[in-house]
């Protein structure tokens, strides 16, 4: 990936992280850890693949994006703001009464959200439906979906995984935000999901493993993918929960609490140095 492009994406990532911190601090609640781990994946998808703009945001042939781990929605709202779909003023109303920025994604209140999520385990099924629809309509848009690693403990995820290859959904791209932590503890302790790659491969998916914070690796995986393959794609993106804010990184407790003003300041300072 060329250097200028990479620097541009890294700049987006920093802005997104700052917005996530500010938004959650102001709301006084929310999920920083699993929002921060998502950032590079979302930046790459929205700026390099989906190429969402204000003009094409509701275009019939747009690529779809489903955030199955709905609690990571601050990252998505921050992306929307970065693209210009939302104003920074909108972000200030996150989680407030009457806001279109609900605590979890709400597609009725905010149409740029493709699927209402927040009850874990449902998003991939909706994405499969969208991918089948694209096939039926003979359209070539893609469906992207991001799952949480704790989320895939949910049985419905495996029903969805079983169904996609049956319909040859080569238009379906799933990213696993593999930050190794869920709500109460490390995934390994709550309910182990490994061996993961082979499990999903045996469900007939094409599986890739990358560092989910490295733009070069995300870029390369798409180069590989784009060489064509009939199977749906599952990209295991190894990430760090709380990435970018030293005191949040790999800390279980930052799953679902807001930083106070002090912590927020500290986090923002880190991001900009």
């Amino acid at each position: 990936m060329d250097k200028v492009k990479k620097a541009e994406l890294e700049n987006h990532a920093r802005e997104i992280r700052a917005r996530i911190i500010k938004m959650i601090t102001l709301a006084g609640s929310g999920h920083p850890g699993g929002s921060l781990s998502l950032v590079e994946i979302l930046v790459y998808l929205f700026f390099e693949k989906i190429k969402r703009t204000r003009q094409n945001a509701l275009d019939e042939n747009r690529d779809r994006f489903v955030l199955s781990k709905g609690h990571g929605v601050p990252a998505l709202y921050a992306i929307f703001a970065q693209i210009g779909l939302l104003k920074d003023k909108d972000l200030e109303n996150f989680r407030k009464l009457g806001s279109k920025l609900q605590g979890h994604p709400d597609r009725i209140k905010l149409p740029y959200v493709e699927a209402s999520t927040g009850s874990l385990g449902q998003g991939l099924s909706v994405a499969v439906g969208m991918a089948i629809a694209a096939k039926l309509k003979k359209k070539d848009y893609r469906i992207y979906c991001v799952l949480g690693d704790g989320e895939i403990q949910q049985g419905q995820v495996w029903e969805a995984l079983m169904s996609a290859p049956k319909f040859n959904l080569d238009n379906l791209y799933v990213f696993l935000d593999y930050n190794k932590i869920q709500l109460d503890d490390w995934v390994d302790k709550i309910m182990p999901i490994e061996p993961l790659g082979s499990k999903i491969e045996s469900f007939n998916w094409k599986v890739y493993q990358i560092n989910g914070h490295n733009f070069d690796e995300i870029h390369d995986v798409f180069n590989k993918i784009d060489q064509g393959d009939q199977k749906p794609k599952f990209i295991i993106a190894h990430t760090i929960k709380g990435k970018g804010v030293s005191f949040m990184e790999n800390e279980v407790k930052w799953h679902g609490i807001a930083p106070n003003r002090e912590e927020s300041k500290k986090a923002l300072k880190e991001l900009y140095t």
Binding site: L97, S119, M191
Partner: protein, 308 residues
């Protein structure tokens, strides 16, 4: 003030020491539903199932059918979302599972609709053999948990995220299926459940000054509903209102309607979530918006009595 989920967690530890067949199942929400104390104290009898509520409920049924008393705990929304597993593996199988749903109602605030249990009473209430209990405060919650252990059938316990005031006296005794009269009055009967009981009671006390004398009853057991109390009551007053942080479709209001509509004409007004979704906001704002705060309750009582 204490959240009933917290009282539940404390009761579990106490009761865990007394009942060695009590087991607790969790779906990655142990700190939220307050089972972490039990988990620490009795690690052998704490079963962490991960984010997989259907499996948790089925496993709980298996444990129950093997002689254990399982408490399967998560948010009310996620548990009631696993309806069919509860319908067959728990209810139809007569498995002695205690289903504990916390974070009920719009009272949870900012997390918004997906995390709010707004239809759980309705969903659990239609299943034969499952009793539905929503305790009002700390003291009632502790006793309801103990009752659940003694009750040899499935139980659904509905608990709050937010702290609630004490409503009952210190010497209170929980009686399953019996409404608890908190205030006397003959103009109107106010039936409330859960977090709204305190607000209704406060509203009713203030309305005394406006010469409105309401009888206030805490309905902790929504199924079976206290038929005797209702039938006796409608001989005295023809006006009844119900209050719940839950959909008015299938909840307390419906349970009351089912009984009294079979009787002579009575005026009934149900206050609750009126066929709509929950949303983000602070608890206070949401309670105002949905008419659950003291002032709104006073207004709705007066409107119903045409005294506004």
């Amino acid at each position: 003030m204490k959240a009933t989920r917290q009282s539940f967690g404390e009761a579990l530890i106490e009761l865990g020491a007394r009942y060695d067949n009590l087991v607790v199942l969790d779906a990655d929400l142990l700190k939220s539903v307050n089972t972490h104390g039990f988990a620490q104290r009795f690690p052998q009898r704490f079963i962490q199932m991960g984010i997989a509520e259907s499996n948790m409920l089925g496993v709980a049924a298996g444990l129950a059918l093997s002689g254990f008393i399982p408490f399967a705990c998560s948010f009310a929304s996620f548990l009631s979302g696993r309806y069919e597993t509860i319908r067959i593996s728990v209810a139809y199988s007569k498995a002695n599972v205690k289903i504990v749903g916390t974070h009920c109602g719009v009272g949870i605030g900012e997390d918004g609709h997906t995390q709010m249990g707004l239809e759980d009473i309705s969903i659990m209430r239609n299943l034969p053999g499952i009793t539905v209990i929503q305790p009002v405060d700390d003291i009632e919650t502790r006793q309801a948990v103990e009752f659940a252990i003694h009750h040899d059938h499935a139980v659904y316990l509905r608990l709050t995220r937010q702290p609630v005031e004490q409503v009952n006296k210190d010497d209170y005794r929980f009686e399953w299926g019996k409404g608890v009269v908190l205030k006397e009055g003959s103009d109107i009967l106010l039936l409330a459940t859960g977090a709204l009981v305190y607000n209704v009671l406060q509203a009713a006390r203030e309305l005394e000054k406006e010469n409105i004398h309401a009888r206030v009853v805490n309905i902790h057991t929504i199924k079976p509903i206290d038929r005797a109390l209702l039938l006796k009551q409608i001989k005295k007053t023809k006006r009844i209102m119900t209050f719940e942080d839950h959909s008015i479709i299938g909840g307390l209001g419906s349970a009351v309607a089912e009984v009294i509509s079979e009787q002579e004409s009575v005026g009934l007004k149900r206050i609750g979530i009126n066929d709509t979704f929950g949303e983000s906001g602070s608890m206070e704002e949401l309670y105002r918006k949905f008419g659950f705060d003291k002032e709104s309750i006073k207004q709705s009582i007066k409107r119903f009595l045409r005294r506004d």
